[in-house]
């Protein structure tokens, strides 16, 4: 087990290094650089100064070397857009996204998995409706889902139409502040959660109906267990495996932030930061965001594997020790 964890941590570090380096190099190779933000007619010396400040006067590999040598000391360079060290920006944005991600994940799970169990274990109108609604959410682009929710919020005024806090938030004491953030959460969290819930529902539904076709389910019914018990006690456990693999992915994706949702709902999170950085070619901010995204994805991947081990007795008993060498 320890071996397993240690190895995964080593891989996570490697992943973060590789991903952030690749992002940095790609950002260098893509057309245009951060000086476009100075305006098309900035003076030559202004451009040269900015290029020097962000090491753009070095070769791409030279710049990568400089950046990596600073990164081992946890210095990730400055952001052009925000005029401050990337580290603080990324950590703060990641924290904001994490709050959102946890709520969205819980919501997606609570909505998606039970509905999937229902639609996978029975036929009829209810199952059809659930399936239909899922497919609707899969057919609408996230941009529209978010805007639709903002539109609803603006029309109904049930919750704020964007942002993370109210304008007077900084004068609130902390319980009131928490309440304020909580009031702003439903909009972006739902925008994130609905398509994921639909994905969970589809996967769970398919897996459940397949599991119920297996001999052990039939045997359980033959033994006289109620269908309800078969589904909930036995079949669900066996059917949840494929979700676990995707679960890790969903955690990683949620934690690295959805730029569309954060952009539309003005949530100051990692996805929006990354998008702004990409658009402005704010090179160190891009690399910093990518590093954080990589870290989260690696974490999601580990959590997914642990969930899998928990859900599948064979994997657990055959030993995570064995799993350690057999499948990470």
């Amino acid at each position: 087990m320890l071996n397993f964890v240690a190895r995964r941590i080593a891989f996570a570090v490697l992943l973060v290094v590789v991903v952030s380096s690749a992002s940095l190099l790609l950002a260098r190779l893509a057309p245009g650089d951060v000086t476009a933000q100075l305006g098309p007619f900035a003076s030559a010396s202004e451009i040269a100064g900015t290029r020097a400040r962000f090491d753009l006067d070095r070769t791409p590999l030279g710049q990568l070397g400089v950046w990596l040598s600073r990164a081992v000391r946890f210095e990730f360079g400055d952001s052009f857009l925000y005029n401050r060290p990337v580290r603080g920006l990324v950590v703060r944005a990641a924290a904001n996204t994490a709050v959102l991600a946890v709520v969205a994940l819980v919501a997606a799970t609570v909505i998606g998995i039970p509905l999937g169990v229902i639609s996978g274990s029975r036929q009829g109108l209810l199952a059809g409706v659930i399936r239909g609604v899922s497919l609707v959410f899969l057919s609408i682009p996230p941009l529209l889902t978010s805007l639709l929710l903002v539109f609803l919020a603006a029309v109904t005024r049930w919750f704020p139409a964007g942002g993370m806090t109210s304008v007077n938030a900084s004068s609130l004491d902390w319980p009131a502040w928490l309440f304020d953030v909580a009031a702003h959460l439903p909009l972006p969290a739902l925008a994130l959660a609905l398509p994921i819930a639909a994905t969970f529902e589809r996967l769970q539904s398919q897996s459940m109906s397949e599991t119920l076709r297996q001999p052990f389910a039939l045997a359980a019914v033959a033994r006289g267990l109620s269908p309800r018990d078969v589904v909930l006690r036995h079949a669900w456990r066996a059917s949840v495996r494929p979700i676990c693999g995707i679960y890790g992915l969903a955690i990683g994706a949620l934690l690295s932030g959805s730029f569309v949702v954060e952009f539309v709902t003005a949530w100051p999170g990692l996805g929006r930061l990354m998008y702004e950085a990409l658009r402005a070619r704010d090179i160190y901010l891009v690399a910093g965001c990518a590093a954080m995204g990589g870290l989260f994805l690696a974490a999601g991947s580990v959590i997914g594997d642990l969930l899998l081990a928990a859900a599948d007795p064979r994997l657990r008993d055959a030993g995570v020790a064995k799993a350690g060498q057999a499948r990470t």
């Binding site: 497919l135 639709l148 994905t199 994805l297």
Partner: protein, 312 residues
Amino acid sequence: MRRAGQCLLWLVGLAAVGAPWLAPNSPDRSFPDRLYAPPGGYAYAQRMVSRLNRRFEDDLNQPVSLHWFTDGRLVTVPESGGGPLLLLGADAFGRDTFSRLLYGARASLALALVATAIALLLGALIGGAAGFAGGLVDEVLSRLTDFVLVLPAIYVALALRAVMPLVLPPATVFALLTLIFALVGWPIVARGMRTIVASEREREYIAAGIALGATRWRLLSRHLLPAAAGYLAVQATLLLPAFILAEATLSYVGLGFPDSVPTWGTMLQDAANMSLVADAPWMLAPAAAIFVVVLGVNLVVQGEPDVHTSLF
């Protein structure tokens, strides 16, 4: 249910193939006096009252007669006869939404189907290999999967765009987008595939198979892949709409089809202005079309009367 799904898909397929005949108007013809026009032109000629206010009214003095089977089209209304016929209104350029929807099915569906197929194949092979082989192979393939998942794909697209000529023929765009989608899509498939194969591998019949001397390839292709068929089918229904929509995202970095080739994804981008959509719900027609396709695919792959229904 499966039959209903097949019918839906045939319908969409026929609409795509028959677009030139079914569409009342050319998809890239703009009618300057019909910007954001509502559906109309089938009973009376439409008349623009105020362009900025987007107000249109039917000209009751000018009833139109539908021209069936003329000009190589099923039905159309020539402009001289009070046209154009706008079954689903017009977009921001005054182009016929219905005709664009039909033509859009071609690029959108072809692209999404091909890319989904490739992503599924790649994902199944790589994920299957990782789950089946275990050990170092699994380790390397899984980490490769993770790596591709976090790579900022938009930069790959930008870098690719930079080395391509400014104006790309639709065929090149098609190939490029297929490539990018397949590359972005396979890790998602591989993730779950690996899980399924890895746990399936632990089951008795596989151990028995190995004891009986079955080759690895045989086990993988005959037993493990079929075990994951249901999973792959669901993934297909998830990737298909995602790819149709992603085409619009890539058009933002200049990797989209030229505007003479309508696609559902780019058509839906116009619907981002919600205040506008509230007045013009037909702008959401592409979303409905995507839904029909996804529903069709879903019914086909999952629509079979389930065995377990006999239980309850």
